[in-house]
Symmetry: D2
Subunit: 468 residues, 4 copies
């Protein structure tokens, strides 16, 4: 009756990320951590194998809804009493084990609720990040293809909304690719330095050391990290830099995707028409207007990019106010913010992968928009090349540009007249001859292709690294 | 499999607000709006009564899970295609009506998906706000009782963490009350100016006017507003001031409660010990430490107050970028932010009502902390009263204070010595006699009681108004 | 050497708001509060008139840089020691008074630094709000004129970036006006409930009451409020709802202006061309491209709207964590956020007033964009009117629309063919005759003009109220 | 008249960072970039050496206020016209060069205003980051000394505000150190991947390549990077990941310092008394209360940590909406946010260095607070060790703990009674003998010392790396 499935969050509704960050998934991760710890202890001979096996069985059974011993919704409703869901879960686990005649002696030994929850969330982060990386490869592959295919497709570059100079659509796509690949790179780096959490009640691991001795305690934690596939490290109960790094990189992914979606939204406006989100059955229709095809993927990605910066701010504010050895509210504020960041980043990645894979390009319309800007688009070049040759210098060129803009007279003709009306010199005659060439946008692209290639080369390297 | 029930949000898990903002509740509100519109049209004779009745029946059936024609989770998964849940819902409603042999001629006539969703969310806001108000009365009643009961309970006032002057616990409680009552007042005001949304595809109501004529269209919208119990008004599809006002007031409620919870967290630290959250079975225990009783209600309220400002920022950022006649992502970013703000405000209100109702006070500990500050706590008064009489003036008093702070010699003795060692005057002798009185904290409370009464008087008025 | 004058904030650089919120202006406001209090006390006979006069003279002298006794930059550098600028200022004032042989007996009596600073910032807020209101009248007058002049100017309404239906430019302008007038109304309301701050060291006014007695103390504060032209009220040292209300309304102003600027930025894109920011000497040029005219006013307003939500979040976060009787950092975090919000709101208002006053409109281009959408723009109307008459019903109409979109065949012809090919009925013949009329955008504007008038009528009322 | 010097920002008022980010400093950086580019071109023979020298001279002259050709305040007031300060600056430079008879032929060749401003801000970032690193070494050295000195100083660890277990003050200090060192490490990494900006009008470098050819253009940009001491890289005009990485790391520094300051504020509350900010002349006094010594450094650091997350959010929101080849407001929103983040991070680092260097510790009070918690502080240990031995098991232990908490009876006595009253066994007798040892906090510190050493070892490595 009280669930949220994304009805108000179509960006991630129905995605793998929604499932991977659901309460059920978090519950499974909590059980996985308890089970892994019990097994780690059992392998070391510190607890009976049978108790560890019983705990592991609870986890396994939870993976099938028909055999699940625990109900995420019931557990959620019990979480307020403890301030976090681990406290009632451990209690329920003990009851279940007892009712089934199993020993709970391997359960939650020397751990604190924050150890379990932080480590479980670390597993969830790892899982969703794999999802993001998979989508990112699709995004980047598609963008790389666009960059490569359109390395010679001319279009108008816009600056502060206005037509500025020619560029290529290939470079534009390469720019999007560059943003995404940098963001994904940062995500991977941040995961590498986000360890499991294992500090005991106040970060000293006192109970564990008291029980197993200092060296064995160390080894057990290393074993647990190995078993969970996570980096080991010092406790970070109230020193939250690892969480900040990951959250920043998730927000960075959303910033890169938001930039991309914003550009697509502009470029597919009917008056611009350079791009179009592919239509698909059941996507983009309007409830009132039969003719409309809405760019819903871009719209949803943009909505996610709008929300992400403020979720990140919540993470930083929480970290700043994480007092004492374990915090009094700051830690609790992180969970929903982090979970939503994960859903947004993965959901937006999935939408973006679909968006970019199906993106329709309209090179003729790009060409048309470029031409509509007229010769003045090359005015920067003309100022440098012809400025010195005109009577009146670059001031005369500026006047010519303004005249062209206000009169619709082609700049080429105005300039030709000016050159012809001036005292003839060799340079001026040469300029007159070169005028058409100077006004060819294809000849004024600078490093567009080099930069495109440079981004593509980086991606070649990154793609291999991500797949490792 | 993919639901969220608050496992990571214990602040609101299991509360009425969780239910009232669940996907199921939003779905019901969407159906209610469609049903109310169909009925409005039917009453006016614009559509067949039977079609309106069929739509109403869908809504009624949805209220019982056993008869519900629609599944919120399925609908959520379909929402991405349309960018919002109304588009697939209307489609499903048509299919259902058709399969049941009913006419859909009264369905969604002249409306756009934003009309339905904004109005449905307005209903949800109204519902949750009632919940908040109900909790607020409990909070304020309890705070008013504390303010009244403790109008003479002395405690130390703290400024920049340090002991500053005496005050009363009654005034402290009155301050909390004042914050909450101002915030609730603002919430009520903001609701009064948040109308239903009814603008049609682009805010002109063209389809409706085309169909029913201009005047009848006006009247139909007024009738709909009446039927839904909402204010009428102009469309606000991409002019979002009404949403900003409500969101600001919700964040204001959380700011007032966050201030309260933060103070409680401080004042119940073991070293301070002036207050204690009541314990309850299943609340506040630790997973590792048998002796601990955690102030979980305050902790959870504080975590909500940490998140609220950034959800509010998302609302403002969205409003700022709500382009065109209907926005391309900004509107979509509002929904989850607003829904979470509602959950946080209502959840925190419920926790705060429990917290304040059961708050244990320790006047003896307040007295002890006050005394531990020593005579120097009255140094402000002494500076004004005795400064002029001391040889060396207020500088001498400052020296005396520093001497007392560093030596643990009571200030009273140092000052008495100073007065005695100076040339005797009438004023000095009088001062010596008054010294004990001057150092009595109970005599240096200024307007503490007046201000307490003033807050209580305001609340008397507000309480009646809220209940209307 | 260390000043900021807006080099990185061109939105407000050089505006009146920059001056009104400068350190010099804050310093003057601090002096004004100290002087007003001294005079209030002197009028009541509580302090010597001569001391009050000396303090007033310091304030007056500070208003001329040639006679200013204090240097804002020096004071700023001294502020860290006290945590706020009032502490070193009062010390400097005492020194200055002493060095000039004047009594400081009227200085800062019974006040605390937060009383002075909050009240001074309240004065600054009042001053800047007057500035905002003045600009708002210019904005709203210009928008009202646009709304009125263009009540019949057709243009295309856009939804999720796509062409949706016809509307009028008048209604679009009225929408902008409505956002601004609602925001300004909220600003005025918030000012009315933001009192001076006068609570003494911990909000009890103990020193003042101890000195002047309870009733006289009340009266003195009322007198001070009157003298400063501010509402009186209870202290709000650590209960910051009044600051939140004002900050929210400032952010609301920026949201309304950001929406306006965003629309202008879109509508003046070369491909759309419906609007243009007026050029002016020295405005909008590019450092590289002679032909470019940048919409710098809109760009700067948008940049302000981007920053405002997060400054507001800082205010709410601060209020939530304002602990004790006076806060340990939260209060300090408010000042720069509030001052920047003031600068942004006033700077954006000034730019917007210039922008809107000079906004060039291109009705022919609006018409052209409207026509480019073709007949399908009326498809909503056709679906309602013709759907029932077509063989195949509204499904046939949807097919016709899709055929028209994909083939560039005018929808009118497709529909005419369909109607003609169907079995002839009276309704179908009538429909055939009405077809041209149905496809006339001017006949499908719904309440566009009514809503425009409604906004204009509200503004008539508001404008009078604002000028009172 | 309109400057800001930090009167409302005592955190950074008067610091080196205030100077390094002042408008004057930004102006100098802008000139430095223009000069370096002119020189780069001159060395390559592309422009006359004399023109480059003249530009360099302008920069050099600006470094002395007596010879400065440009006025930052005047320039700021001119910035709105161009939307950024580079446009009027280049114009002023041309005028100045012309008036002095110098050629401007080396000025701003092939560059766009964003190249100059982004690169100048990159220089400012580099400069302020050096400042931050210098302070960080002081902070970390002091924290390392505290961690080392207090590795055996017992204190009570707090969790959710309540006494939890024993720990050492050394480990607490090591935790602060760990946060700061991780944050500084991230800052260094982010600087390494934030290149100069050199893309020309739309990121293609068209003008430069057109003029100098593709390969030479590449080389010139590498030369410029070398000359400025910056990494080279592709343009990032509207792909802002580099700026996000740096901004995140600055906010990370503030989060680490905010955590530290928050703990200090708590631990120096009079009732806790474990730490004290050192007093200094002119620091921490109150304007009303002679006895007060305010922890102003911590308060100011905390105020900065409050603001930082939202400035970071502005950076991410801007990056997400950086449209086209060059953005229409998003870029402009970055500057003040980034500059303020720099000031806050550097100012907070400076205050924290002073704070930590002079921090007074009170081990006796730490001991006293630890003891006040009583034997129950070891209840976790007792539950594990004695639980199995008690009749009734761990439930009996929980009852004993509750009895002790509610009755003030020492837990040790209750447990001894329980053990004695139970059937005697060898284990129980042993437990009785060990009871005193089990209740010794010094024996229950887990890895506290190991973890302290581990942090210190990391810092040894980091410190060397930072100094390189």
């Amino acid at each position: 009756m009280t669930g949220q499935y994304g009805l108000l969050s179509p960006l991630w509704a129905g995605t793998a990320a929604a499932a991977d960050t659901s309460d059920e998934a978090v519950l499974l991760a909590l059980l996985q951590v308890e089970a892994a710890w019990a097994e780690t202890l059992a392998v070391a001979g510190a607890v009976p194998e049978s108790s560890a096996a019983a705990i592991r069985t609870l986890w396994r059974r939870q993976q099938e809804s028909s055999t699940a011993p625990f109900d995420a919704q019931v557990l959620a409703a019990a979480a307020p009493g403890g301030g976090n869901p681990v406290i009632p879960l451990v209690k329920l686990m003990r009851q279940t084990l007892a009712s089934e005649g199993c020993s709970d002696s391997a359960l939650h030994r020397g751990a604190t609720s924050q150890d379990i929850l932080d480590t479980a969330l670390r597993l969830v982060i790892g899982q969703v990040s794999k999802d993001i990386s998979r989508h990112a490869v699709r995004i980047c592959d598609a963008l790389a293809a666009l960059a490569d295919d359109h390395r010679h497709t001319l279009c108008v570059a816009r600056s502060l909304t206005q037509h500025a100079l020619p560029t290529t659509f290939g470079l534009r796509a390469a720019g999007w690719l560059d943003g995404v690949q940098q963001a994904i790179g940062a995500l991977h780096t941040s995961l590498d330095s986000m360890p499991l959490q294992w500090g005991g009640a106040v970060g000293t691991r006192a109970a564990l050391v008291d029980w197993q001795g200092s060296e064995d305690a160390h080894q057990l934690i290393l074993d647990l990290a190995t078993r969970l596939g996570l980096p080991a490290g010092r406790p970070w109960h109230s020193q939250r830099q690892p969480a900040l790094r990951v959250a920043s990189s998730l927000a960075g992914v959303l910033a890169a995707l938001g930039k991309l979606a914003g550009d697509v939204l502009l470029l597919q406006r009917p008056e611009i028409g350079e791009l179009r989100e592919s239509a698909a059955p059941g996507r983009g229709g309007s409830s009132a207007m039969p003719h409309k095809q809405n760019p819903v993927q871009s719209v949803l990605i943009r909505s996610a990019a709008n929300a992400a910066p403020n979720l990140l701010a919540t993470m930083y504010a929480a970290a700043s106010s994480a007092q004492d050895e374990r915090p009094d509210g700051a830690w609790h504020a992180e969970w929903p913010a982090l979970a939503e960041l994960l859903r947004l980043a993965a959901g937006a990645s999935q939408r973006a992968a679909d968006l970019v894979s199906g993106l329709e390009t309209f090179p003729e319309q790009m060409q048309k928009n470029l031409q509509s800007a007229g010769d003045v688009l090359l005015s920067e070049r003309l100022a440098l090349r012809l400025g010195p040759l005109l009577p009146g210098g670059s001031k005369a060129l500026q006047t010519a540009v303004e005249q062209s803009v206000s009169s619709d007279l082609p700049l080429r003709e105005i300039l030709a007249d000016l050159l012809r009306s001036a005292e003839p010199t060799g340079e001026r005659e040469e300029a007159l001859e070169e005028l058409d060439g100077l006004l060819d946008p294809a000849g004024y692209l600078g490093h567009a292709e080099d930069l495109t290639d440079s981004v593509l080369a980086d991606y070649q390297q990154n793609r291999s690294a991500w797949n490792e």
